[in-house]
């Protein structure tokens, strides 16, 4: 956000009198932190108030690799089947979901076995049915398998492990997509910005037959 807009949005337009206000200092802090972020553009993550132990752990996680390249390709294919590009926004991989899932597998090690195991369960299915691993199948064949594991309400015999894995993939993909820049723009979340809250807008009140109180 531009500095002027920021000051305006918190109700302060001139620096003169307000120079001592904690709000102006707050605004300046945001700007300082953002400039800091610009300087460190090469770092994978902008600084966001990490403690020493967190910095150490995150640096270690970021230097490690969990998925093999072919596993990561499968993750990307699945993620894009779950959240594809549409007329509103890009796909899961456009939003960086595979890298996010790679990070989460290291950050929450309890995810590692369900994810790796699920990916190999999927390849075994694909091999059994179509003679090649999942990513080497045609899209039609991939969809055929996904159709069998995407609906927890109607699970075919022998498919329950695949359903559990697909639930996890769906949830991770959604988390990663909707918390990305692309996802937030698509969803229409318009907060996280200094503002004044004055109650529910009139047209919305009217829509629901309510009144501000």
């Amino acid at each position: 956000m531009k500095r002027r807009n920021l000051l305006k949005s918190i109700g302060l337009t001139s620096l003169g009198l307000a120079g001592l206000s904690p709000q102006v200092r707050a605004a300046e802090n945001i700007i300082a932190a953002e400039n800091e972020g610009d300087k460190k553009k090469k770092e994978p993550w902008e600084p966001y108030g990490r403690t020493e132990s967190e910095k150490e752990r995150d640096a270690r996680l970021l230097s490690e690799q969990f998925f093999t390249p072919s596993e990561l390709t499968t993750v990307a294919v699945l993620a894009d089947l779950i959240i594809p590009r549409d007329s509103h926004s890009g796909s899961a991989s456009d939003a960086g979901v595979p890298a996010f899932i790679e990070f989460m597998a290291k950050d929450k090690p309890e995810l590692q076995t369900p994810l790796r195991g699920g990916l190999h369960w999927l390849d075994a299915q694909a091999l059994k049915r179509f003679g090649s691993v999942f990513t080497a199948c045609s899209q039609k064949q991939q969809i055929e398998i996904v159709e069998d594991i995407a609906y927890p309400g109607k699970v075919k015999p022998g498919m329950s492990q695949g359903v559990a894995f697909f639930n996890l993939m769906r949830n991770l993909t959604a988390s990663g997509f909707w918390s990305s820049q692309i996802g937030i723009a698509d969803l229409g979340y318009v907060g996280n910005i200094p503002n004044q809250w004055t109650g529910v807008p009139d047209d919305v009140l009217k829509q629901y037959g309510l009144e501000n109180e």
């Binding site: 707050a26 802090n29 990070f103 639930n167 959604a174 996280n192």
Partner: protein
Amino acid sequence: MQDIQFNFSAESYDVIIVGSGAGGGMAAYELTKAGAKVCLLEAGQHYDPADPQYITQLKWPWQSPRRGASTRFRPFGDFDAAYGGWDIEGEPYTTAPGTKFAWFRSRMLGGRTNHWGRISLRFGPDDFRRKSIDGLGEDWPISYDEVKPFYDEIDSMLGVFGTNEGLPNDPDGVFLPPPKPRLHELMIKKANRNLGIKTIPSRMSILTKKINDDRGECFYCSQCGRACMAYADFSSSSCLVKPALKSKNLDVIYHAMAREVLTDPQTGLCTGISYVDTKTLEERTVKARIVVLAASACESARLLLNSKSPRFPNGLANSSGVVGKYLHDSTGASRAAIIPMLFDRKRYNEDGVGGLHVYSPWWQDNKKLDFPRGYHIEYWGGMGMPAYGFGWGIENVNGMFPDRDGNKREAGGYGAALKDDYRRFYGAYIGMAGRGEAVAREDNYCEIDPEKVDKFGIPVLRFHYKHSEYEKLQAKHMHETFEQIIHEMGGIPLSDKPGPDKEYGLNAPGEIIHEVGTARMGNNPKTSALNKYQQAHDVKNLFIVDAAPFPSQGDKNCTWTILALSMRASRHIVDLRNQGKL
């Protein structure tokens, strides 16, 4: 990073305070204002929410590689302003077999007040005399009228919004204007009006109006849990310790983990504190005329129990044997729901303040119910900022509703239709949590574990805590109420109603993080550790100003009362000093 903030360095201080949370910050503020030379020992590190190196406020989820997911270091999410958590490396605690307790600790200036919920409820007249009403537990040695002036003073000094409703046990205060309800909150109010469940503006220590030049006004980012860089929400670090430092009467020593309270074997008075420098692991002592403990209820009990000497074989201030006993936390149970009327809602910024804009104080009469104590209800919902966990579990929800064209849908799925479900359901989830009073019992307690020590060699706490039927029946009532509210709103409760096998959904003891009662105050030195000014019966220069002195909890969150009572105890210390009695 700062290790010490010295205004002066004394051979011996007037007062040592252990811990800089709600209780310790208030004592530091009051005592330094009165001119005492004070040393504040804090086990954690320096923290200032306006210092860019600490800021997490107004960051976006993608600035965190885990998109805000929780870690061992930040159990309430990657942007939360608490350094510490349930499980701190090298600082264990244990629980006796068959019992449960979860202990949340923050290791930083301001303790747990940097990220707390800011729900600031004063206790009511009945909360100080429950035993007289229902025969259970113990009355306080003080009445609401004795505490009221202090509540009034902290309301004005620290700032809290709310409304004067004239309710008998949820007293009026000195309130700033509350924020208007959000859409789902208006719907809850409407439903609750039909059900006769009083629902009023919440009471939170957030500045909806400027109160002084040191603190800014709320700009409605909904992120008080990340701590406010404009100091528009109350935290002990920004609103009490910082001004106390300006008095030039305060030294703060960081990374100082108190081990024991030192006493003179002849006089039996305290002489200071021995502590471990957590960075160098050196043992140090600091001396003072008066010792004030404020390390949080359980940690202060731990300090007393670990301060054994031939003169005090049961630990300090414990001739009654009550130290560690009568530990109790607020009860908690919660439920989420989805409100179809809110599908595909119009987007606008409804962040509001960090937390609820309305709540329901206890509205019933326990004499007509099968459990003795009340609870209040807190609500959540709205179009919040997405983060890790967003959309999780959609397979349990989307099969319940036909698509926009009225066709039945199969739960789960993938592809464009699924992608659209997330948009459709955004902002349609709500939830509610009951926070109630548990009955304090002697057999719910913490003691020193006979075998284990932490990494500093300090013996750790072992907890024994079980819910009684009272708490379970209260949780059952909470869930019945939640379902009534959800149905009245036209919503659908998510997850099943927990039954007796799950203790009706009661949170494990400690999980609500309002633990109190471990060194209770009273008029009788045989059944209490402290007198009504929170001064140890056995050791006249020892005071406790966290929640350890609470004989009972109230169906309110405890922090506003910790603050009021710490102010009261600190003024009493000053009076005693002026009278030459300390």
